[in-house]
Amino acid sequence: MRKIYLKGIKGGTGATAIVANLACALKKSNTNVIVLDLDPKNDLGLHLGLSWEHNTGWSNYNSLNAALAEFHCDSDGVIFLPFGSEPSRLNELQTVIRDCEQLKVDDNSWLLLDCPAHLDLDHFNLCADDIFLEVVNCDATCHSFIYKRLLKLNQQTNHWQHYFLVNRYNSASELEFDLLQLWQSEVPLLAPLYINKDEVISESTAFRNVAVNCAPYSVANDDFETLAGWLVSRATHND
């Protein structure tokens, strides 16, 4: 099972929307995709068509085995497990990740983890095969966060693949254009692709769907397909 962690470098970078869209884009190549919502906001389900009234998730049960009934399947066949309503402790979170790894699925399937922005990297037991994407926006806050993170990463030895993924990039903005250009030349872990700012991503949530399904001719669709393709190449790089 190939594991991808997605986390906003700060809150509100649009990480959850990326998770949902990426899951659908990966599902299109006929592999199993399992998405795990680790964020207490419990909003991944909204992107994948779950109704707002649905309130339970893995945090409402003691173990993953007990929560099996909470696995949902969206219209594309993406399997996902919502967070639920109970506040959970760190060790519970780590257990659920570990238990998910034990699920009997084939090696090609994907496990996407939507991590809350406030939890730090140390709390996940990352191993060498994992890919960690930190979602950033092109603004000054993220700029400083990126350098902070780089500093930290340099201090410790990290085995996993860590990348910064630019979201909501708008090349018309002078600041964003300049920042991205700067990062492209200076930031070593910047992913070679970015997600363009696109209204259809937010619009499709209003349709309780994802952009990949709603707007096949949009740039967003292209971006997520490219992202999926790039992740496939990264993952095979691991093998």
Binding site: Q184, D198, E199, Y217, V219, D222
Partner: protein
Amino acid sequence: MTKPSRASVTQKSMSLFLSIFFTKKIVRFLFFKFHSYFNQHKVSALAAFLLPFLLLLLSIFIKLDNNNKRRLKAKLAYLYPHVSKPIVTPANSIRIFLQSLYLLLFNVSVKKNAPKNRIRSHYSAKFFQKSARFIRYLDTKLVRSCKRLWLLGSSKSTTQSYQKIASAKLWRNRFLHFMFYGLLALAVVIFVTVPFSLEAQAIFISLILLVSYSLRRVKGQMATIAMITLAVTSSTRYLWWRYTDTLNWHDPLALTLGIGLLLAESYAWLVLILGFFQTINPLHRKPIPLHKDTALWPTVDVYIPTYNEPLNVVRPTAIAAQSIDWPADKLNIYILDDGKRPEFKEFADEIGVGYLDRPDHKHAKAGNMNHAMKHTSGEYIAIFDCDHIPARSFLQMTMGQFINDSKVCLVQTPHHFFSADPFERNLNNHRQIPNENMLFYGLIQDGNDMWDATFFCGSCAVLKRQALEEIGGFAVETVTEDAHTALRMQRAGYKTTYINIPQAAGLATDSLSAHIGQRIRWARGMAQIFRLDNPLLGKGLNIGQRLCYINAMLHFLSGIPRIVFLTAPLALIYFNAYIIYAPFIAIFLYIVPTLLQVKITNSRIQGKYRYSYWGEVYESVLAWYILKPTTVALFNPNKGKFNVTEKGGFNDKARYDWLISKPYIILLAFNVIGMCYGVFRLFFGDTSQIGVLLISMLWASYNTMILGAAVAVAAEAKQVRSSHRIKANFPAAIRLSNGRTMKVKITDYSDNGVGIETAHEHMCKTNDKIELLMSRGKKQFSFPTYICNTRDKQIGLTLRDLNLEKQKAFIQCTFSRADAWLDWQDNFKHDKPSYSFKKVFTTSIRGFNNLIFHAPNQLKPLINFITRAMTQLASLLPINPKKVF
């Protein structure tokens, strides 16, 4: 029924008289018919009297009731569709006669109500179809078997043995070497000079023709070389025959004219042979990759000489030059402004390129660049005419040659034009037919490169400063400084190279007169070089280089010979002068097959770069204009000054350039009148001359066609846009004002607009503001644009008020893309002479139409009269009955 109420005495007596012979009913019928003819149809009294009797007589044989009559009428209208309404006119009588003859003689299907029968065409057409199919069948069989034979002959073992022979030690022996060449020359002399009887010539030439005809589609350079050998043999034989057998020594007029034609033919032969030599084995040079470490790369100065071109022409060039992929500290761009314009200096400062001007204008472009050389210091100098926008990969593609070989002093790349040249625009065949330039940059330069004789073309090239300094800078003695400079560097022992990958694109000349002006300059310059620094003489060149240069110069002397060819057949028609003094059958056996063979060979060699017959059209347009300057320059090489080719202009309305087309119109008039006179002579002249007369008229009609096409070029077409649109095909995206994005394909662009195509329906409206997202490498640029028009999935965008930064980005994303001009030569299929002939023919017709359309008002009545007479005459001809539903 008419019943005479007040019957006159005559009528009564008449009816009494008639009733002796006929029944009462018939008498009444006769009277009824008489009245209707006389009163209603206004037929003369006698005819009105006689016609009823005729009808009566007919009714004995044919039952003429209403039904039958209608059917008969319909049938007649069907068989004689072009007979006009008042039937009894002289014209109609001719029509009826000819149509009856046609219907009788040809097997026209007259069953009108069976659509299947109409598809089954009549006998003669079927015969033609059948024979065409048969010929095609024979052709494919022939070509296929020839291919097989050829492959058999050129299998690996034989090439190895060729190589063994070629590398044998025997060749080191000088004596043997010369012996072999001597034998070869002897064989050629025998082949060429041995006199043949007509039968022998027929067999000989048809064999040669057969071989080269069937070789024409066999792949490989060896087949080309074989075809060239055959063409050289037969054309030389032809010329020998012309010199020895065909001059009429007894008729001084025919002799003078004949010698004139013969000299023109000798010129054509020489150019043909040299052309074969030049292009026998084009070297397709490949770019050489540069060293990985950019610190080792040399410094390059980019010169953009300008004189009077507007800033908006120079701007994209300068910006694109800045975007060339090369270490920034090793790339210096200079605008060499000979016009000393302050706005250019301002612009140069603004974008950060160098600006050089000079106190005088001595020696035009060459002087300008020499002056710049004094103020710059780069090891290499890249030159772009101010309208040639370079691609970012320009230096990457070219510089490797210098690093590879220190003797290389020039790397030339093709001149590609994104706008239509006057020929293409006025004939409306842009991107359909290879243009005039294509032959030179697609084939001849590659051929020259093989002989190490690549010409410098003044732009889109890189030169080595060291070599330039050694010869004292750019040559200033002639008006074509480029060719002369390259010649000098070659004399100094340097090599020139050519890379046939378009790495820059520019504007073609925008009117025929400007185009001709440019060619006049080239022609004059070449003639000057011929006189001042003759490549046949002097040191430092090898024989191949000398021949290539001399061919280039000869090409520009084509004025007189071309005019001779365009008028030669008229000598016989007007003056009855036998300029080719030989029996009809001999002329037929020598000229036609030789011409055919040369055409086939040229079509094979030049097929992708110049279609058959278009060379004649291009030459005919220029012939008159380059005649004088070349002749003058040959006698007095220092006369004449440099004229700047105007570019970036705008034709705001369609017009006809009478001044420039005057020479062709006069030639055309001679030819047309000659044709009419020829027809007259065919009917009323000496019957023994019909053969030669026919050949002359055939030739004259070919000339008429070529001249018609030349005339067509002079009709200057209207230019729709002020900036030229360049066809493209690469992905981009748009972001609408509501924030949604859409993937699009860029279909064309210009310096202030973009055409895009969306993948599915869009909701965009004119004047919407949208963002265009284009990428260059990792960078994405966003351009604010307005929609100027929409059609289905097509959207036209205009860019407005871009700041300098955005302008630069736009040029980097479009004009300076490395792949921007790459599909240039692949657009064209290989030449098909028959197709090309058709194309020239329609162009010619278009020329005649233009001539009539643009004719001055005084001539309008005459033209109207002639057209009416022509249509009237044409309406007399029999036509195929067609059912009208």
